[in-house]
Symmetry: C2
Subunit: 127 residues, 2 copies
Amino acid sequence: MVTKQLRGTAEDADLSRADSLAREIFTDIANKWAFLIIEALGDGTLRFGALRNEIQGISHKMLTQNLRMLERNGLVERDVHPTVPPRVEYTLTEPGRALRAAVSGMCGWTQRYLDHIEAARNRFDAV
Amino acid sequence: MVTKQLRGTAEDADLSRADSLAREIFTDIANKWAFLIIEALGDGTLRFGALRNEIQGISHKMLTQNLRMLERNGLVERDVHPTVPPRVEYTLTEPGRALRAAVSGMCGWTQRYLDHIEAARNRFDAV
DNA sequence: CGGTATCCCATGCGATACTG
DNA sequence: CAGTATCGCATGGGATACCG
């Protein structure tokens, strides 16, 4: 369970080590930009600039920041070709591709329920 | 595609209406607390306080805020029993349960790759 | 019990500018 | 081309207190 701690003793109110790590990973990865990057990379390899074009609206800063984070967690591989100008390519690793299944699920879900959600919003906001 | 806009004309640099709505939904839902709430609700029904207990570390404020957001998007149903003290129950709707599949996938993924990720982090941070 | 409001610090994120 | 650094506003999010 990610939602609650595994209590050891009654006074152990903290998360277990595994759970606190899981929570950290969730905090890192459960964010809009990370998902969009994973979805954009897909099975292929993209350069920094290509990613920036692919993901409409992402800023230079957010892209580097999230790529660094994904690299740190071992979800993307970063290949630097030491040429001038530099050429840096990003690819999903095996864990990254595994997560991509869930991310694609979310994307598909969004498409499927788009109208449904819009209707729910209108109903809610009407009050 | 959620990652890029569907260009109509050359000068249409904005997202299409459907894509901008999809992006909005992503922004709402791709967040740690929303996922933890969805996972905690599961197939059942939980009261506000029970949810708070289930999701270790969530504050009163974040719980209400995210529940309101999920209700607005039609992912959770909110049943108010007008008694004293009040009794408010939350349940996933059909779209909510559909999204839960992807969320559970993410949770499973986290468990499966926990060690792998920790190792990747240590390697990255060692530099 | 559950919701709302307020205060205040931490973080997200865009804009801009500089480097190799 | 890609990365880093800095600034500054906007939002996230905890703590506390008060209302039905």
